[in-house]
Subunit: 351 residues, 2 copies
Amino acid sequence: MVSDASPAPAKNPVTLREVAATAGVSVATASKALNGQGRMTAETRERIRETAQRLGFRPNSLAQSLLRRRSFTVGLLTNDTYGRFSLPVMSGISDALVDKGVSVFLCNVEDDQRLGQLHVDAMLDKRVDGIIATGKRIDRHLPVDLSNLGVPVIYAFTQPDPGAIAFVSDDAGGARLAVEHFWRLGRRRIAHVSGPASFAVVHARAQAYRDVLTEKGLPVMEPLLGSWSEAWGHEAVKTLFDGRLSKRGGETPDAVFCGNDQIARGVIDALRERGLGVPGDVGVIGFDNWQIVAEATRPPLTSVDMNLAALGREAGLTLLSLVGGEPAEPGIRKLPCRLVVRQSCGRPPDG
Amino acid sequence: MVSDASPAPAKNPVTLREVAATAGVSVATASKALNGQGRMTAETRERIRETAQRLGFRPNSLAQSLLRRRSFTVGLLTNDTYGRFSLPVMSGISDALVDKGVSVFLCNVEDDQRLGQLHVDAMLDKRVDGIIATGKRIDRHLPVDLSNLGVPVIYAFTQPDPGAIAFVSDDAGGARLAVEHFWRLGRRRIAHVSGPASFAVVHARAQAYRDVLTEKGLPVMEPLLGSWSEAWGHEAVKTLFDGRLSKRGGETPDAVFCGNDQIARGVIDALRERGLGVPGDVGVIGFDNWQIVAEATRPPLTSVDMNLAALGREAGLTLLSLVGGEPAEPGIRKLPCRLVVRQSCGRPPDG
DNA sequence: GTGATTAGAGAAAACCTTTTCCCAACCAAG
DNA sequence: CTTGGTTGGGAAAAGGTTTTCTCTAATCAC
């Protein structure tokens, strides 16, 4: 009782063998005592447990993994250097796995095939139980070959191999949420400004936009495609609100559904510069719910959230069940988005 | 040559024992052949190598780690959920380590002590060779106790324990870069708008700002402290450019050095709304060089970059040398910032 | 032809834990 | 006193690799 009440100074970790020796039993008995296996006197079991506790024993995962052929480790591959999309996914995965004692190797492969191979090899050498691939867009494949790896693979927010299991956001559903929200608020001349035509999500969202308008019997303005930037938002406002267009629809829009939050920001700023009020004259909805942008616009931006953390959580849990040997249907699972309402759309007319 | 030209179908990985058996030697010889150890005929060595290659043999890292007492794995702890600062650091660390075959466990501990302990325990169980702690500000400690862990610990962009090794950005140096840049451009009435007084970096940068002004014999305006938001940038412009202040300095500023890029963005927008030109009437410099913000301002923002990737790289390399048993001086190492010049300051008068 | 090296390769221990099998002792029933 | 079952616990193998030590046969000097 002089000094050593602390759990473990731990220069080199204490092994099961030392615990067993200290408790006066064999390693086999010690192991069983600590794992609740085998048969022995309650007294023996307790004595061993107490000894382990006192010595600060922690089982060596490497030895366990070697034996169980399970490392309680998964690899996460991404090419999203800035983590704008990957980080929430990562966070969800980690949340889902930490309670089960599973750790995550994070590997940024950029868009470099060599780097990708390097990381995948390292993961396999380290005997990861599975791999999750994630990225910054769902219509591009990571620069790595993940087929026939011998471990389960899950794709999250990136393009999967055919026949694989993937989780992606339901972009069409998200777009519907936005447009239907406008509808419920009484907006009737709804425009859509989005990113480059080279992105699959641009088409998915645009199609959903058209579908909703058609269902409601509203006029469909052809979506304006450009880039993901604020500057494009500015420019699009010019196109939408300058005379040329009003010839077609007769009137200018009273709502703009934007393909991402940066475009939405540009749109809001441009509208203000023209003297148009948001949400008074025009409602605006963004996409991504990137907090740092959505809360900095004036007024704060209503935006579609892709629930990426939930997506990551699903991906993590599914991977785990795969690792556990349970079967799972291949295919692409679309997870619903949700609308985060702030102040850029106004209140319902009857509210 | 019918089907099996591919490297490895790898349902269960091929072991060294199988390679040895196939090549007709003992495992000992096989091991030595593949590692370039021991003595044997060149012919034998080559035959074993070729066999391993053909079978797609990859040594089991778990077994190697167990034996070498080195896992070639490090843990990265962060509480920066959005990764704005952690991700570049992480990227630098990973870059520095991947070539040496070291993988990184990423753990987000939020600000949750329980979660922190959980992750640290998991890391130690998995026998990481070392741990790097990183965060979102350098004057707050992570919610974990990293002393006496038995493995080397490095702090990067977070507050270290006393006596530990830490890498942080040289905020004072970064601020000097900004203010001296203004000076070289002929700006003489330089203001400083920064974040909350509760941040240590705010004081470090403010003091450097004062020092440079004093050195140059310029008037020192007391720094304006507020929040890290665009809104505060707007507000600060009011304070700076409304009559009240001009009584003191006689004139309004011709340059504003901002504590981060978001404030700078607010300042630029507010200046434009007042009809003041950037950089014509007023130059603006931000801090953080957050690309997505700095390139979206009009004009694009000159900003101080903290070189976080380089910081991560240094941290990674230092950790590795520590793991290798080399000694290292404890203490805080400040790494230089650099100024990324865009268009918000104008050109030199003689340019 | 003798003794001393050396080249080439294998046996076995070590790393740490889990699990299967086994043994000794004890007890009750026949 | 045997048979059979149970209880408490240990011995040993397994997992895959590295490394040290040992052994045999061949080469070399004399």
